[in-house]
């Protein structure tokens, strides 16, 4: 056994203590946050706008929309017919120790024609990338993890756009297992700005396609850790003249999450007000006509609070917003609060360890059949030797 668990016991114990102390501290903060929501909702719009203006563009809090901050909106009726498309992706990252240099993106999709009783359409689309143009940047750097993730995100959105177009004109909701913003745009270094910008443009084009097909699109985030609504409440409680960087940093709700706040507020099936996502990446989305908004939704089981991200054109269309709200709730009933299409899309996309091993054996054979040597690095082989060792199981 490599992990010396007895040695860890005191640390595990201390961690439990720390978690309990933290939970007790946050439980005391929660009523204050609930009260702050009430106070902030009662502020005149100009007063809040003045504070927001002083906070500036780099402040990371949520911004209000046309809905009152403390709005609690009941579930709308489910449309009789609604197509629900789900997409998820997985990947094998390039590994210089593997027999051949490549990476793989695998996209799983499902299209449920709710209300027809028919068997959903599922698909799995694997794509092997191995050309130099796929693997290396202009400066000869090997493609990195954020870029591979970005390509996967674009492929997921493209798969949803395909399904939305194929479903037209039936009412369709396209669901993504994550937020809508392309995080790659924040993660890459300057030397990878060009491929990242290209991916961002492609991603936005796919959302254009979904919009043109008349479908709604939403990103579903389970167990969100965001606290941007709480940041807004902290801002709202500051007198306008005290809104500065130092005071904004002294967030009185630090450690608390929006999810904890809305678990107090939202009955099952209800959603919060919509807010505008404060990320700098949202500027690009806004420029393309897809500013990202979000709301919290109690998906109905055990106060399961999810964060739903939507483009503004979905949020501002009562019809599309109803599809998102009612469509997600309908798909969460059987699966304990997480949408069925996303459970299945993940299952369809997942590349297991044994599938990866089989793929690499096949790639090795394909190379050897053409007289090429395709062997793992010595380091990878020694890891296999030791990894295969029998271990005592706890």
């Amino acid at each position: 056994m490599s992990l010396d668990l007895p040695q860890l016991l005191p640390q595990i114990d201390a961690m439990g203590e720390s978690a309990a102390a933290r939970a007790a501290r946050l439980a005391k903060l929660l009523p204050q946050a609930v009260e702050a929501l009430d106070t902030a909702a009662g502020l005149p719009a100009e007063a809040l706008e003045a504070r927001l203006a002083r906070a500036g563009d780099r402040w990371p809090g949520a911004k209000p929309t046309d809905e009152p901050l403390d709005a609690i909106l009941p579930p709308p009726p489910h449309p009789e017919r609604l197509n629900i498309a789900g997409a998820d992706g997985s990947q094998i990252y390039p590994d210089r120790h593997a027999p051949l240099l490549y990476y793989l993106i695998n996209i799983g999709t499902i299209l449920i024609e709710q209300g027809t009783g028919s068997r959903p359409k599922t698909s799995t689309r694997p794509s092997l990338r191995y050309e130099d143009a796929d693997l290396y940047s202009e400066s000869d750097a090997l493609i990195n993890v954020p870029l591979v993730n970005g390509e996967r995100d674009v492929a997921e959105m493209a798969a949803l756009a395909d399904l939305a177009e194929s479903s037209h004109p039936a009412p369709t909701l396209a669901l993504l297992d994550n937020g809508l913003l392309l995080w790659l745009a924040l993660q890459v270094q300057d030397q990878q700005r060009e491929p990242a910008d290209r991916l961002l443009a492609d991603y936005l084009r796919q959302i254009d396609r979904i919009q043109a097909a008349g479908a709604a699109v939403a990103g579903f985030m389970d167990r969100p850790r965001n606290a941007s609504v709480l940041a807004l409440l902290h801002l709202a409680l500051l007198p306008t003249e005290h809104v500065d960087e130092a005071n904004l940093r002294q967030n009185r709700f630090r450690g608390l999450t929006d999810r904890a706040l809305f678990a107090q507020q939202l009955p099952p099936g209800h959603r919060s007000a919509r807010f505008v996502h404060a990320s700098p990446v949202n500027r690009d989305f806004r420029a393309a006509g897809h500013e990202v908004q979000f709301f919290y939704l109690n998906t109905g089981e055990d106060w399961h609070i999810a964060r739903i991200e939507i483009p503004a054109w979905v949020g501002e269309s009562p019809r599309l917003l109803e599809w998102v709200h009612a469509g997600i709730l309908g798909q969460c009933k059987a699966t304990g609060g997480f949408p069925y299409p996303l459970v299945r899309a993940h299952e369809l996309a997942l590349v297991s360890h044994s599938e990866r091993q089989t793929l690499e054996t096949m790639l090795g054979r394909a190379a050897m059949g053409r007289g090429l040597e395709a062997r793992s690095s010595q380091k990878a082989r020694t890891k296999r030797w030791t990894g295969a060792r029998r271990r005592h199981r706890l």
């Binding site: 449920i112 024609e113 068997r119 959903p120 599922t122 009933k333 699966t335 069925y340 459970v343 299952e347």
Partner: protein, 199 residues
């Protein structure tokens, strides 16, 4: 060669039998007590098996849906028809075919992993069951519902024959069973009662 239908592929095996997997069972295949065969010895022989167990593996997701409220017809159809939950069936080796002839004993080698498993055509099943020499091997099996399997296999074999020969076939089978199970009258009675229903 008779027309064969592939009903699955071997996933694990021994000389005593083999286990096959399929993605979705057809309404008629595989069924308890039917004969099947899988290629062995690089095609030189075919192991003949009697299907005695068909199981559908579950997983946590299937268990969640089974107990959940609000499963829609579309989700049900997806889980039953699309999800790749393999159906496994187990076959007891009761003989093998070699050079166009059936032998009633354990095969020299088991089939290989992923060998296709075929049904026996009616003519082949008729020829294989013409001899009742597979019954001792079947009765000696352990951890298999032998009595029910025996009755199901013999009833199927008799149904392949012209109506006028069916009672005679079952009577002959009953006599062999009486000889083989002479020391276990309770089991013999169960088997004979099972055969009598169709006689």
């Amino acid at each position: 060669m008779a027309d064969h239908t592939i009903i699955g592929r071997v996933t694990r095996c021994s000389t005593r039998g083999f286990v096959g997997a399929i993605r979705l069972p057809e309404p008629d295949l595989p069924t308890f007590g039917s004969l099947c065969q899988a290629e062995a010895q690089q095609g030189r022989s075919q192991v003949v098996g009697l299907i005695y167990d068909i199981s559908i593996q579950d997983d946590e997701f299937a268990r969640q849906l089974a107990t959940a409220e609000g499963v829609t017809p579309e989700q049900l159809a997806d889980s039953q028809a699309n999800r790749q939950v393999p159906v496994e069936f187990s076959a007891l080796a009761v003989g093998y075919a070699n050079a166009g002839k059936f032998h009633y004993g354990l095969p020299p080698q088991p089939p290989l992993t992923l060998a296709p498993i075929h049904t026996l055509s009616d003519e082949e099943a008729l020829a294989f069951s013409a001899s009742l020499d597979f019954l001792p091997l079947l009765l000696s099996a352990t951890e298999v519902p032998v009595d029910d399997l025996l009755v199901a296999a013999l009833r199927r074999a008799s149904a392949l024959r012209p109506r006028s020969q069916r009672a005679g076939y079952l009577l002959q089978a009953g006599r062999v069973c009486a000889r083989l199970l002479g020391r276990d009258l309770t089991r013999l009675e169960t088997v004979l009662n099972g055969l009598a229903v169709t006689a």
